[in-house]
């Protein structure tokens, strides 16, 4: 975990998103797919908290060596401010934060399922998997074609790719879960990696669970610190032995979780009556 003052190399649109490249050699060196950084908003504003962003690219070699690329969508004061930063501006960045995706040991066929800007960390993951001689298949979903992140790069990256858009402006009309069964059949993927809106992650994780395919999800939860000290970012996770559950920090123990261990109903609702609330037997604080 490093705190660095990072110069902005570039900040430009890519479809509906912005691509922000920072000079951050130390963070880039450590960064692994699924991890994120916390970017500080400058003093003097009415929003004070850092903003978390997945690491989209961390270049160690080549022309971009020592740089970090983030992809974000302007949705509120923080991201709207970030869209305004210019080359040579300097940002206060902390990272890499959280746990990264686990690379499969045996498995060779991997399926990456992305929703919206959730594709950001999966491109990074895809490259690392290929560098490990894994076969990378992708399903990329978005509302509209501008929200399909860097489709050209994605196609270059993946051995096979299916794109879905809700308005049908790119690829197939629909959502990722419409095509997931067929893609799993075709690719015989032995592991699934997903990042996108939480409801999508839930659907993917629950389907994979039924198919008994291991599934890792990179989640989002509101974060005040990103450092593990505020306990605002928790996700209810079931104990390894299936007995009991605990609210686990997405910023430290996550954002990557085993999709089968996340207690989706409790996290995203509908909340159940207390009686059924602990289907997993005796309460037992789970720790890592």
């Amino acid at each position: 975990m490093i705190r660095a003052r990072c110069e902005v190399l570039s900040n430009r649109r890519t479809g509906a998103y912005w691509s922000l490249t920072l000079v951050a050699p130390d963070i880039a060196e450590e960064a692994r797919p699924g991890q994120f950084v916390e970017v500080a908003v400058p003093r003097g504003r009415d929003v004070i908290l850092r903003r978390p962003f997945s690491i989209h690219q961390a270049s160690r070699r080549g022309g971009w060596a020592g740089t970090l690329e983030l992809v974000f969508e302007p949705v509120g004061p923080g991201t709207r401010w970030l869209a305004e930063v210019r080359p040579h501006d300097v940002l206060d960045v902390i990272g890499p934060l959280g746990r990264s995706f686990h690379y499969p040991r045996e498995a060779t066929s991997c399926l990456l399922v992305a929703g919206g800007y959730g594709a950001a960390p999966l491109h990074f993951l895809g490259e690392e998997l290929r560098a490990r001689n894994k076969v990378v298949h992708m399903v990329v979903g978005a509302r509209t074609h501008e929200r399909v992140l860097k489709p050209v790069e994605a196609k270059r990256l993946a051995t096979s790719i299916v794109i879905t858009t809700e308005d049908g402006t790119m690829g197939e009309r629909g959502v990722v879960t419409d095509v997931l069964p067929a893609v799993l059949d075709r690719t015989r993927a032995q592991v699934v990696y997903a990042c996108g809106p939480n409801p999508m992650l839930r659907a993917v994780a629950e389907y994979c669970r039924r198919r008994a395919v291991p599934c890792q999800v990179a989640v989002e939860e509101k974060m005040a610190c990103g450092l593990g000290v505020c306990w605002s970012c928790v996700v209810p996770v079931v104990a390894a032995d299936g007995r009991g559950w605990w609210n686990v920090r997405a910023c430290v123990e996550g954002p990557v979780f085993n999709g089968a261990r996340v207690w989706w109903d409790r996290w995203l609702g509908p909340a159940r009556p207390p009686a059924e609330e602990e289907p997993l037997g005796a309460v037992e604080a789970r720790r890592r």
Binding site: M1, R3, A40, V41, R43, D46, V47, I48, L49, R50, I94, E221, K222, M223, A224, C225, L227, G228, V229, C230, W231, S232, C233, V234, V235, W246, N247, V252, R266, W267, A271, V283, A285, R287
Partner: protein, 318 residues
């Protein structure tokens, strides 16, 4: 003007290397922050509040940002006192920074039990987070009623090996009365203030922005309220060590609290966006004291210059 400045403070026997501590619930017990911050430069760490049993806390969302502040509704999530003793206590002992154990409970009995267990812990003091509801008194908040506050503080003082600080909330009609009750019950000092009860609503979904519906407001937005509380209590109870908490981001903010009568300060929310805030505030305070020709934080304490006639304090002077 080039006085030799020492930042060390002595709160009637409880000593800290600098007057700038990390506030409860914003630094855990230091383990995570140690990866970024040299903890030996931190004046002290107040732990996340510790309860008797493991506590899972409230459903998400637990945080909502508000103008110059934030709301939190964590629900005191913590692994419980046994886990604290097993996992954190040894780590704390190795830190070389004074640690204050924050204690919370739902009944006098729970506060007492945790206090008892903490006799083993390597802490320099206990901070009683009595801004919690008392399940035995229709969920009335301890810190909102002098009698309830006195009862729980008294019980803790009897069982504690180390001095007990009472952490109070500003959401009361007569803060001084609560403070006096705590001191009479044996509180060594006071921490002012806890978060202010607030709420925010998502106007798109019509839902509260917090799973807990209401939550605690913190950050620069509440600093004027916290400074006022310290001023009120310091004037009423001279000689009682006060830790000022609320919205501190810079050394000037900390100086405001010391001038108002605080003996030390705690930095909370600022740790989230500036993990080095406690260190930066302490260093800035040193420069400030030197510039003012003062040798220590104690020399600044209560130096507020009041007008000849202080207008009635109680009114909202609109």
């Amino acid at each position: 003007m080039s006085a030799k400045v020492s930042l060390a403070v002595d709160l009637n026997g409880v000593r800290f290397p600098t007057p700038v501590l990390a506030a409860s619930g914003t630094f855990n017990a230091g383990r995570e922050m140690a990866q970024l911050v040299d903890l030996r430069e931190v004046g002290g760490i107040v732990t996340k509040s510790i309860t008797l049993h493991p506590t899972r806390g409230l459903p998400v969302p637990r945080m909502a940002e508000t103008p110059c502040g934030m709301l939190n509704a964590i629900g005191l999530q913590n692994p419980g006192v046994e886990e604290f003793l097993a996992k954190e206590a040894p780590f704390i002992a190795s830190l070389g920074v004074p640690v204050v154990a924050s204690v919370a409970g739902r009944s006098v009995e729970e506060f007492a039990q945790v206090t008892l267990r903490l006799r083993e812990a390597p802490v320099v003091a206990i901070e009683a987070n009595i801004s919690c509801p008392n399940v035995e008194r229709r969920n009335q908040v301890f810190a909102c009623h002098p009698d309830m506050a006195a009862e729980v503080i008294g019980a803790m003082v009897r069982l504690s090996r180390v001095p007990v600080f009472a952490k109070l909330t500003a959401d009361v009609t007569d803060l001084v009365a609560v403070a006096e009750a705590c001191v009479r019950a044996g509180a060594h000092g006071l921490s002012l203030i806890n978060t202010v009860l607030g709420m925010a609503v998502d106007v798109e979904t019509f839902r509260p922005k917090l799973g807990g519906v209401t939550g605690g407001l913190s950050g620069p937005a509440i600093r004027p309220i916290a400074v006022r509380c310290v001023y009120q209590v310091a004037r009423a109870l001279p000689g009682v060590p006060i830790m000022g908490v609320g919205g501190i981001v810079t050394a000037d903010d900390a100086a405001e609290f010391l001038l108002a009568g605080a003996w030390a300060v705690q930095v909370g929310t600022a740790n989230f966006f500036d993990p080095h805030a406690t260190v930066a505030v302490a260093r800035g305070l040193e420069r400030y004291l030197r510039r003012k020709g003062l040798g220590s934080p104690a020399e600044l304490r209560g130096r507020l210059e009041l007008p000849e006639r202080v207008p009635e304090l109680a009114s909202r002077p609109g």
